[in-house]
Subunit: 331 residues, 2 copies
DNA sequence: CTGAAAGCGCTTACAG
DNA sequence: CTGAAAGCGCTTACAG
């Protein structure tokens, strides 16, 4: 492979001049520029950016830690990140961590070993987790309250409370929950929102109708099997992801129940399929792409040496009412 | 940040010895090793892998070109790639190209500029597209017949033909198609399979019931609007992706049609939600994870200097029959 | 087992 | 506008 030295030899100019012709053409005479370009063309020269990065101590790469790449909410968020990164000349290294601490720290070490300039964490912060090394530029996207570094997210507690209040307003008083893993911060915050809504309506919290899932289709389906055992059955189900809502509806249908006629179901995220499911899902729309864009802007700002004034950017969510909810049946 | 020179100074050993203690501990005396490790610990030293890569002219990074990261089939394929890559110590740089030629060539240039060792292309090869530079190590995954470089895929023609024959065997004789973009190779191959199946049954091809989509939910929904205009309506629909099948079913239901009672619908890929939709989708299961694993193995083999014997790996698919298909109604 | 030295491919302050 | 030279942080053949 041709190197800058070959171009220098071919053009009869020093490597310094060749380097300038490439990076700062205005510093070089037209004549030299021409000769350099001819040599580059002839030799099919491509600069070794790995060398350049090393020399400049800058990688123009950011890493994104994704708990699960097959989750459409994350996919959308990532497109937002990529748009901004690409526009600013950064590459995005995607780390599919699958909730494995080992894999996650491998990706973090990309930053520590200077193969990347910073990272965006998509997993909500976990209080037990060690703080990220403060010398590492990091932003949390789509996470929760209490993240101890820069973050971009919606207000999960409020959003959850809003959906549940909506169900209450339809007349439901017995509202079940299919949550994510119980130690996941999203589960915790959204459950808190649920409790707040119940409390404001003077309804007692009953953990018999709270079932733990893991945000997946399967876990929603499975949760319904548990719920069908309880004596005093809910007339509505608040699911903490659209996937779980879909799984749950599938399970309910298999038990011969109609949604929303027999039981209302709500999701969370508003992934594409939410609108195409039957019934179309009532859900909370997170501004996934915007969260990604904002997080990327924030990180690039930090990488470029600025200190963002705001620690937390809270973006607006939206309650989308579709077909999966209605007033409870009169008995 | 501490460099190897700092560790050398701290430990009182040469940088050569420090380097060896890190990369080849067995070449160094126990005593030296101990002193180096103490110094590393004390200084919180992390080797600059960007420098190391440059020095070794190896990046241990592969890039994966994904047409659309929000497509679950790709997401699964990518997990297969990542598993193998991680196990072998490679990083995966994900390039979400969104079918943009510009973005794609930016990612390819990562390999040309030696920031990555090779690439896996997830977009099916397009005959008009320039051949990849033969000096670049590249593998196509999940693509189509006629890819001019190494590839791992299913036999799309045969798989499509098999689904259509299945519909024929149920008694359907008027089978519509919702295809991907008509210049996409997957669309071309699967349409060919469709034609073969019709031909073997002595049924004439009628392009009035072939509608072009783009593999998305929305395009499936939209295609149904077109199909509802034709005089002689199909009793079954062969959709070239699960997303389009779901979109189509949603559209049919809105027109008051029952699936499969009034019309049968088949998908392609078998993404997770296929089994949770109502009705659950009859579809072709592509071994997405396996395709990814095999493609990664192939690429790493090439990067490490071997020449794979086989140019094309054809993996088995599976026809999954669920609830979205049945015999046509007697009229 | 250890160290001095060359070199990977670039960029850039310095001198002219 | 141009070139010689130093240096980014490592690895490794060579000599001892």
């Amino acid at each position: 492979m041709a190197t800058i030295r070959d171009v220098s030899r071919e053009s009869g100019l020093s490597i310094a001049t060749v380097s300038r012709a490439i990076s700062n053409p205005e510093m070089v005479s037209k004549h030299s520029l021409q000769r350099v370009n001819e040599a580059i063309e002839k030799l099919q020269y491509k600069p070794n950016l790995s060398s350049q990065k090393f020399r400049l101590q800058r990688t123009n790469t950011i890493v994104v830690l994704v708990p699960n790449i097959a989750n459409l909410f994350f996919a959308q968020l990532i497109s937002g990140i990529e748009d901004v990164a690409a526009r600013r000349g950064y590459n995005v290294l995607l780390g599919d961590t699958r909730d494995s601490v080992t894999r996650e720290s491998e990706f973090i070490s990309l930053v520590e070993t200077r193969q990347a300039d910073g990272l965006i964490q998509l997993r909500p912060h976990d209080d037990d987790a060690p703080l990220p090394d403060p010398t590492i530029k990091a932003v949390n996207a789509g996470g929760c309250a209490g993240t101890p570094y820069h973050s971009v997210r919606i207000d999960n507690i409020e959003a959850a409370s809003k959906v549940v209040k909506y169900l209450l307003s339809l007349g439901h008083t017995r509202i079940g929950v299919i949550s994510g893993l119980s130690n996941n911060r999203h589960s915790i915050d959204r459950l808190q929102g649920y409790k707040q809504a119940l409390e404001s309506a003077g309804i007692a919290y009953d953990d018999e109708i709270i079932v733990e899932g893991d945000f997946s289709l399967w876990s929603g389906f499975n949760a319904v099997q548990h719920l069908s055992q309880v004596a005093n059955k809910p007339t509505a189900l608040f699911c903490m992801s659209d996937d779980m809502a879909i799984g749950a509806i599938k399970g309910l249908k298999e038990k011969g129940l109609q949604v929303p006629e027999d039981i209302s179901v709500t999701g969370f995220d508003d992934i594409d399929v939410a609108n195409y499911y039957d019934p179309a899902l009532t859900t909370v729309r997170q501004p996934a792409v915007k969260i990604g864009e904002k997080a990327a802007e924030l990180l690039l700002q930090m990488i470029e040496g600025e200190t963002p004034k705001v620690q937390e950017y809270i973006l607006p969510y939206e309650l989308i009412s579709r077909e999966s909810t209605s007033a409870p049946k009169r008995v």
